[in-house]
């Protein structure tokens, strides 16, 4: 295919990605160094209190937001350098006495802690559960496999907010699972009263949501395991566990890497769980923090510059996650050219 024809085919897609992904990225980067504030003017206001005979008048200077002829607020944008970053990271406060609790009092570090813990805890659980189900289904009667795959796909396909809600409704108040746990452990349990139980439910939800994806991919991979290799392993005296360890897992390794990557990317942007479990007063994530900066607050403003600075900080994590992948792709590409 000629290069110009190729350009013609990809042009619309490139245009969309440039305008709606690349350009916003650049503009977020620039926005994070500027701040937009409402302009205030000082107005002298005389307020009089009527008294007996005399009226006491006080003249005060009050700051009022300046309005233009249309009645809109006048705003002013100025370069502030790293000010927004400082506002978010609050480094002096965070590391003043090197105590964990003073670090966790700051939203950004709190969100970062949860995001990382969430990502790293759910990763092995989702992959392990997916692999386990795939192995089990692969050794199960052929007839029911279709039905099992159908049921397994339900948690994967459900809207994330709704999925989180459906778990929440099982536990909220005296929901049946909370009631069951109380009966079983013989103690009073309130699942929504402290951070760690909420985090536990969020992780449960995420594993429930992602394991089917891992399962389907691994199951497809298991169909391509070479039967001759397995049989020769049997002849060499390998037991079931050794066959799994030395034949099946190495065969599935590329898939495990693939799923880990997708899972790292996806769970690093954990967000819907916070909405579904309404956990913002206990647990927050990095993406939720940006979201909160972007929604209107009580005074009717959005702190775009903070959202931008927070986004840029979030991106650093993404880059760290992606570096190994990019290195590998680059090496493969060079090998193919040479």
């Amino acid at each position: 295919m000629k290069f110009r024809v190729f350009l013609g085919f990809i042009a619309p897609s490139m245009f969309l990605m440039l305008v709606f992904i690349a350009f916003p990225l650049v503009s977020v980067f620039i926005q994070s160094f500027y701040t937009t504030t409402t302009v205030y003017e000082n107005v002298e206001v005389e307020s009089c209190t009527p008294g007996f005979g005399t009226t006491t008048c006080i003249t005060e200077t009050v700051a009022q937001p300046l309005k233009d002829e249309n009645g809109d607020l006048v705003t002013e944008t100025s370069f502030v350098g790293l000010e927004s970053y400082k506002n978010i990271l609050r480094l002096e406060e965070a590391f003043s006495d090197f105590s964990w609790s003073s670090l966790m009092a700051i939203d950004f570090w709190k969100a970062l802690r949860f995001t990382l813990v969430f990502t790293l805890v759910t990763l092995p659980l989702a992959i392990g559960l997916g692999l386990l189900i795939a192995l089990a289904v692969n050794n199960f009667t052929q007839r029911l496999r279709g039905q099992i795959i159908f049921i397994s796909l339900l948690p994967f396909i459900i809207t994330p907010v709704i999925g989180a809600l459906s778990i929440r409704w099982l536990f909220i108040g005296d929901g049946i699972l909370t009631a069951f746990l109380e009966w079983w452990l013989e103690m009073d349990i309130a699942m929504f009263a402290q951070a760690w139980t909420i985090e536990l439910m969020m992780m449960f939800y995420r594993v429930w949501h992602v394991a089917p994806f891992a399962f389907v991919v691994f199951y497809a991979g298991l169909q391509t395991v070479n039967n001759d290799t397995l049989e020769s392993a049997v002849i060499d005296g390998a037991n079931r566990f050794e066959r799994l360890r030395y034949v099946i897992i190495p065969h599935l390794m590329p898939l495990i890497v693939f799923i880990s990557l997708i899972h790292l990317m996806d769970s690093y942007r954990v967000f819907e769980e916070i909405v579904g479990f309404s956990s913002q007063s206990y647990v927050i994530s990095l993406q939720w923090l940006t979201y909160e900066f972007l929604t209107l607050d009580e005074s009717g403003t959005r702190s775009i510059e903070r959202a931008s600075a927070n986004s840029m900080m979030t991106m650093i994590g993404i880059v760290i996650i992606l570096i190994p992948l990019l290195q590998k792709t680059w090496r493969d590409h060079k090998a193919r050219i040479l």
Binding site: A136, P155, G221
Partner: protein, 385 residues
């Protein structure tokens, strides 16, 4: 073919496998099944700590709303019939009756028709029919399980959830059509070009796929809100404010989805031998003609699969739609937060459950009809490399 004897499992291992699968099936389906049960009960029953009370709904039954044995049997039979039809018969019918180049449309029409028949039958045809039966059937006709549709009626009619449904329909239709049109062209180009640029585009797409959506939205926000002023020099006084416009959200969702779409479509196009388009080129087709008349007809499975995933992205999105759409254009998923976030009564909570089930029902149908395509989509990126 049976497995060789040495590979067969011992009895205890077999029992382990069976119980693992049983436990997983229950865990996978239970939360969804449970919200469906909760949504048809009176609030007292729905949030009762006792599971049997939630299932049988004594309070709901006491207030005179219930289903009899006959209702349950016929209802279950009807649902089974619809499920059987959509799994076994629908694919064949769609392939036989769709015009040559438009199998895609055939699937949409088929799925919509099945969904409509199921909805209409369960909601409007069976209840009055069974109501007549119940009155002279004796104990088989007397209600045994509490059941009420009133929360659904409250959500859809009183709270005007159909508006949100409409908005969801607009957004998802837009996302799927535009994303596929743009994506197939790019996916085909990328699959057939060996140039260095193609490699770099795919890498950039991979990085874009990893971006949190909130990062992008913080880029759109100021531009969309002030777009009327920004675009005024170009478009004059009728420049639109993009904030709150479904069209702007469609464009945003399509672009966010592009990296994933082109990777997946490229994998499907690479499976089609390039000799096919070379033959068409020899016969005098241009690239575009070869693409449309020769490649696309064999590409439909891939297009349907990618379309499904685009649909899911548009339908399931919370972050972008809740930030960039104003309340009268709101789609279903963000709208539901209105129920459970305010300090609410029990009835509001059950209405939230009913809304959640309403959002899940189309997805349920989707898995039923398109299970094979979804599985092939999940494995396309992974297994083919």
């Amino acid at each position: 073919m049976a497995a060789p004897k040495a590979l067969q499992m011992s009895g205890s291992l077999r029992a382990g496998v069976v119980s693992l699968i049983a436990v997983w099936s229950i865990i996978a389906a239970f939360p969804i099944f449970w919200i469906a049960v909760m949504s048809v009960k009176e609030p007292v029953d729905s949030f009762s700590p006792h599971p049997l009370k939630v299932i049988f709904g004594p309070e709901t039954l006491a207030s005179g709303k219930g289903l009899s044995t006959i209702d349950l049997l016929i209802g279950a039979g009807f649902i089974y019939l619809i499920a059987w039809f959509s799994v076994k018969k629908l694919p064949r019918l769609v392939n036989d009756y769709s015009p040559f180049n438009l199998v895609f449309l055939g699937w949409i029409v088929g799925a919509l028709l099945t969904g409509f028949i199921g909805f209409f039958g369960l909601g409007f045809v069976l209840p009055p029919l069974l109501g007549m039966f119940n009155s002279f059937l004796g104990f088989l006709g007397s209600p045994i399980v509490g059941f009420t549709f009133e929360h659904y009626l409250a959500v859809w009619i009183e709270n005007e959830f159909y508006r949100n449904f409409n908005n969801s329909l607009i957004v998802t239709t837009g996302v799927v059509t535009i994303s596929l049109t743009v994506g197939t062209l790019a996916g085909y180009g990328l699959a057939r070009s060996g140039s260095n640029l193609a490699f770099w585009i795919l890498i950039a797409a991979l990085i874009f796929r990893a971006l949190p959506h909130s990062v992008l939205v913080s880029g759109y926000m100021p531009v969309f809100i002030n777009s009327a002023e920004i675009l005024e020099p170009i478009l004059g006084s009728n420049a639109p404010t993009l904030y709150g416009q479904p069209l702007a959200v469609i464009a945003v969702l399509v672009s966010i989805n592009q990296p994933f779409t082109i990777w997946m479509l490229r994998a499907f196009f690479q499976n089609i031998p390039s000799e096919l388009d070379e033959a068409a080129r020899v016969d005098g087709c241009t690239h575009l003609k070869a693409f449309w008349w020769v490649i696309m007809p064999v590409m439909w499975p891939g297009v349907i699969t990618t379309g499904l995933f685009s649909f899911l992205l548009g339908y399931n999105d919370y972050l972008v739609t809740s930030l960039l759409l104003d309340s009268q254009n709101q789609t279903m998923v963000p709208a539901i937060t209105g129920y459970f976030n305010r300090e609410t009564t029990m009835t509001d909570q059950v209405e939230a459950v009913a809304a959640a089930v309403s959002i899940t029902a189309p997805l349920f149908l989707l898995v039923m009809v398109f299970q094979r395509q979804i599985v092939s989509g999940l494995t396309a990126g992974a297994v083919k490399g």
